[in-house]
């Protein structure tokens, strides 16, 4: 198992007022993302425990793009990953933001 952590600055605070959401399931090729509104408005943290070792560069790129596109300020994302592909990771992160901002049920 590998542990990765990324702290970034976000352009703006994530919308809405929900305090936490969880999306996804830990299984082969899948991951869960727990999003908690616990940080200052311009901060964003992504904390990852992953079963697939050696993909640090890919995670970094995915997270950087995600933070730039979705501006999830104030959110801490905690991830348990069962070896999901980057597109699945990006999808779950987007789903988590969408859920905590209250866009869709």
């Amino acid at each position: 198992m590998e542990t990765l952590n990324y702290r970034n600055k976000a352009q703006q605070r994530a919308k809405g007022s929900k305090r936490q959401v969880i999306v996804g399931v830990v299984a082969s090729g899948n991951l869960e993302v727990l999003a908690e509104r616990v940080l200052p408005d311009t901060d964003c943290e992504v904390d990852i425990r992953t079963a697939a070792e050696g993909f640090g560069e890919v995670w970094q790129a995915v997270v950087a793009d995600f933070v730039e596109r979705r501006s999830p300020g104030g959110l801490k994302f905690s991830i348990n990953d069962g070896g999901a592909r980057p597109d699945t990771v990006a999808l779950r992160l987007a789903q988590a933001v969408s859920a905590i901002e209250g866009e869709r049920t």
Binding site: V62, R85, L91
Partner: protein, 548 residues
């Protein structure tokens, strides 16, 4: 004095040698090996079916049991290397040389035997190409085929899984070869005659159905959200704007998702009647909802698919069926249809390089080509126009005068940027190059060449290679949809942005698609059971797909 009927004499002597085992044309099952030892000569070119789906399994087992002092150094020419016995022949020294097209289930073992020098490789072909060579320089001296039933005159019913048989038998029978058929049963009257008895020399009743591989069934339960996203992109970004009516789908989950999205997403976009109405396609169970919803006019098939026979019988307006009501498939003609009568091929692959060349070969597996190179290529002999073909031709070459500007077939590669075991789809160098070196091949085994590919679709978007003006643009159009693979991360961001502005690369949002909309609830059927329901209980899936 020159004699001109040597082949006929040889054929006659083979028939005489086999005669003691036969009553008319019928040979008892227990005498199969002895028959083969009598009829086949060392060094013969033998075609063993070996198709994509059906296997002449009795004949394969019997051939692997021959005395190798009597029968050896055979040159096997066959479509598919599928059964273990197909490779046992080489390990046992019965066969020496091989020309073939596909080896999916045996891809690892065949690689080992090739590296180990146990197989002398002629070449790996695409199906139609191999059939073509049966008529020029690879004509079989003996053909070992599988049919459903025979009558006592040797007429054969090959039924839904007719597949390659007509192409094989015509070449063999009319060039003085011997045709030996295994059949499930010998009957008084056949449902229909697929192969005339004049072309058949010996018939063996196996007493049970020949082996058929269910290759074209994909469980909707396994389709992922990312695959659904690529399917949405393909439908909205390619099928719709080009108006693709005539097409072929390579087998895979991405294309299965497209099939299942037609009645839902396709309907929502108002595309029924405007796309996907005429197909060169095996009877994919995942197309059932689209058929039932009125999307499909006609399908011609390469082979059949396990469990679909009753459904096909009940839909003769759509499928090619005989007077007996059952499907007649024909791989050779379907391949030709894919080449000349379809405006688009779309399929998946394992690796794509920076020129757009794609391959399914890895360093330790040699799967062969199957039909994809044929379906996924631009047929330069085509002359009749169609809207998609002309439109693609115009995009590729906007400056030439229209009247001299040929069209282009749409050849689309679709897949997620990372495949099984998180292996990247996009690579700088294909594993196929390593294999070519290892086996000392003239050519690296490329499935679809970059200059035939017109579009690449991943979850990141669509790259339209027709609009690329030079190699640099082409390379970056590919990098621009290669996601987080090393190839993707190596992109020149500015150049990719320019390509996007020109429409060479289109992202989901450029097409009005939100990735979060790619939900499994969009699928018209989400399980095999759903497909059974759609078919009105006519589809009978094989046991391994059941969860009821």
């Amino acid at each position: 004095m020159t004699t001109w009927n040597n082949a006929q004499s040889l054929r006659d002597s083979r028939k005489r040698a086999g005669a003691p085992y036969a009553q008319g044309k019928c040979v008892a099952r227990k005498d199969t090996t002895a028959l083969l030892e009598a009829v086949i000569r060392p060094g013969d070119r033998v075609c063993l079916e070996g198709d994509n789906q059906k296997q002449a399994d009795l004949l394969a087992t019997a051939l692997a049991a021959v005395n190798k002092d009597k029968v050896h150094d055979l040159h096997m020419v066959q479509s598919g290397v599928v059964l273990p016995e197909h490779l046992d022949l080489f390990e046992l020294g019965i066969a020496k040389r091989l020309d073939y097209a596909y080896s999916g289930p045996q891809s690892q073992r065949i690689a080992k035997l090739l590296f180990g020098g146990k197989i002398e490789l002629g070449a790996v072909h695409t199906y139609l190409e191999l059939f073509a060579r049966y008529y020029v320089d690879l004509t079989p001296q003996v053909a070992l085929i599988a049919a459903v039933s025979a009558d006592r005159e040797g007429n054969l019913y090959t039924g839904p899984n007719t597949e390659d048989t007509p192409a094989i038998v015509e070449a063999t029978a009319f060039k003085d070869g011997i045709v030996i058929a295994q059949v499930n049963e010998i009957v008084d009257k056949l449902p229909r005659v697929d192969i005339p008895g004049d072309w058949v020399d010996f018939v063996i009743e196996s007493g049970k159905p020949f082996y058929v591989e269910p290759l074209f069934t994909r469980d909707p339960g396994a389709i992922t959200e990312t695959q659904i996203l690529t399917a949405m992109l393909a439908i909205k970004g390619i099928y719709a704007p080009y108006g693709v009516q005539r097409l072929n789908h390579g087998i895979g989950f991405n294309t299965a998702a497209i099939e299942l999205l037609l009645p839902t997403y396709g309907e929502r976009l108002g595309l029924k009647g405007k796309i996907a109405s005429r197909w060169a396609l095996n009877p994919h169970p995942t197309l059932i909802p689209a058929i039932e919803s009125g999307w499909v006019q006609q399908i011609h098939s390469f082979g059949s698919e396990v469990g679909m026979d009753d459904y096909i019988r009940a839909r003769p307006d759509v499928f090619f069926t005989g007077p007996d009501g059952s499907l007649r498939s024909n791989r050779a003609f379907s391949q030709v249809a894919g080449l000349y009568a379809c405006d688009m091929f779309i399929g998946s692959t394992l690796q794509i390089d920076l020129q757009g060349n794609s391959s399914t070969v890895t360093a330790d597996r040699v799967a062969g080509f199957g039909g994809a190179p044929n379906m996924g290529s631009d047929a330069r002999g085509r002359r009749h126009p169609s809207q998609p073909w002309l439109q693609a031709g115009k995009e590729a070459d906007p400056d030439s005068p229209a009247a001299l500007r040929r069209g282009r077939k749409l050849v689309v590669q679709i897949g997620e940027t990372f495949g099984d075991k998180n292996a990247p789809l996009f690579v700088e160098n294909l594993d196929a190059l390593k294999l070519a070196e290892k086996l000392d091949l003239d050519l690296a085994p490329v499935m679809v060449y970059g200059d035939d590919v017109t579009h690449i679709v991943t979850e990141e978007g669509i790259a339209n290679l027709l609009l690329c003006r030079n190699n640099d643009e082409r390379e970056h159009a590919i990098r621009g949809v290669a996601g987080y693979t090393e190839v993707g991360r190596g992109r020149d961001k500015k150049l990719v942005q320019q390509l996007r502005e020109r429409g060479v690369i289109r992202r989901p949002e450029d097409l009005g698609i939100d990735p979060l909309d790619a939900d499994r609830r969009l699928l018209a059927a989400r399980s095999i059971k759903d497909l059974v329901r759609w078919s009105g209980d006519l589809y009978a899936p094989p046991s391994k797909f059941r969860n009821w």
